[in-house]
Amino acid sequence: MLNNNLIDKNRTRTYLRRHKIVIASALLLLFSLHLALTDNRGAERGIVVKEVISIAISPIQNAILGTYGAITDVLGNYILLVNLKSNNDSLNETVTQLKAENNTLKEEIGLNSRLKEVLEYKESVPFETIAATILGFNMDRWTRTVTIDKGKSDGIVKDMAVITPLGVIGRVIEAGPHSSMVLLNTDLRSNIEAIVQRTRVKGVIEGNGKDRLRLKYVLQLDDVLLGDHIVTSGFSGLFPKGLVLGEVVKVEKGKDNFFKEIEVLPKVDYSRLEEVLLVKGTGIKAAADETATPASAPTPASVPAQASVPALSPTPTPIID
């Protein structure tokens, strides 16, 4: 009996040892699948990894972007120099210098122009904002996110609305110490309550995982036409009311014969994004603060912005606006 037990144990050990790779793979495979299938239930995932990325990787992204810009400038000037050398060496040098200066000035003017635009918009909107610069883009398959150079230390919280003068960009999904990740509207996981500006028809704007948006849950009878502007409804409080989301470019009868299939082109060209604004008073922390201490909530007089920012949902979900 004892011998049989020992033989069984040895067999089990041998079996485990022989198949350890398959067993380890299967366990990690199942664990990964569990993580993926429960990802949208609000549980925090990979906090340590995200903190490390926020602290260690974001400065590298910043440095690479700076170096890349410098190298492309130098290469541009070098190519220019080679072309002009055939005419006149001395003139060439002068022209190159002037071109380099011109290029620098153009960059400065471009930056000033963009910042001026952002600043003017920042001052014109009736809510407080925090300006941030984009460090990196993640346009991988169905994922559409950007990394910005502001984090918790700058007052950024999860679910803060991110906008530009042209309209809504998305919302913060991860706030690290010094950088944050923004889920763009075009990501599949993005849901924003919206209305058609002309007819006030309500719907939900979702990303299509590429570069377009879909306006969902609009009935066949509802009045939506090509060229209609879609704006945020402000109902759930994560986004201020009336911010531009995009323009209707396709309206079709839905397969279910109940809802329309509406495609929306975002007003913002995401590939050209450089500076964004984050709306203060939106996001999970703000919602929690407001629910916990309603008496201390800012008054319209102290913060004019809050006047137009609707009341925040007491139980905001991480997925749906």
Binding site: A36, R45, K50, R141, T145
Partner: protein, 159 residues
């Protein structure tokens, strides 16, 4: 341990470059090629864990659904591990075809995860482009990985 010290920094650098310089340029799927290389050349529990970590890193870095890429890479690892008992990835052509097909498999698995999590994802043509690019670069990258890891570990021989 040496594999961790080599391949994790390489993966991080790859993800940084992909998010800054190569935003709209299709580049080969380096984590997948590393998993293919490890699962074929020296499959071990360490290699399995490394594959999982690379997938996890990719998900954390891109803000994707946590676990989706690590799940896909684990399936890729097991597939290559079993295939390596029957197929020899000895010629550049076979390596290119294998890398291309595995990129399609990875894309398909992530797509299935998205559908299972109720995201109405379209199956993208960009996966085909990624498969072609990964397949085209895979033979050269595998050769490079063999040399790099061979330098780090003189006992490792490329099959």
């Amino acid at each position: 341990m040496r594999d961790f010290l080599i391949f994790i920094p390489v993966t991080v650098l790859y993800l940084v470059l992909k998010s800054t310089i190569f935003i709209s340029i299709p580049i080969p799927d380096l984590p997948l090629i590393i998993v293919l290389f490890i699962a074929y050349n020296r499959a071990s529990v360490e290699g399995v864990v490394l594959g999982f970590i690379m997938g996890y890193l990719e998900d954390a870095f891109t803000g994707g659904i946590f676990g989706s890429t690590s799940f896909a890479l684990m399936v890729v690892f097991i597939t290559v591990y079993f295939l390596s008992k029957r197929v020899t990835f000895s010629t550049p052509f076979i390596r290119a075809v294998a890398a291309g097909l595995l990129t399609l498999l990875k894309g398909l698995l992530i797509y299935i995860v998205l559908r299972l999590t109720n995201f109405d994802a379209p199956f993208l043509g960009s996966i085909l482009i990624a498969a072609v690019v990964t397949g085209a670069f895979a033979p050269a990258i595998i050769l490079l990985l063999g040399r790099v890891s061979g330098t780090a570990d003189p006992h490792t021989l490329e099959r």
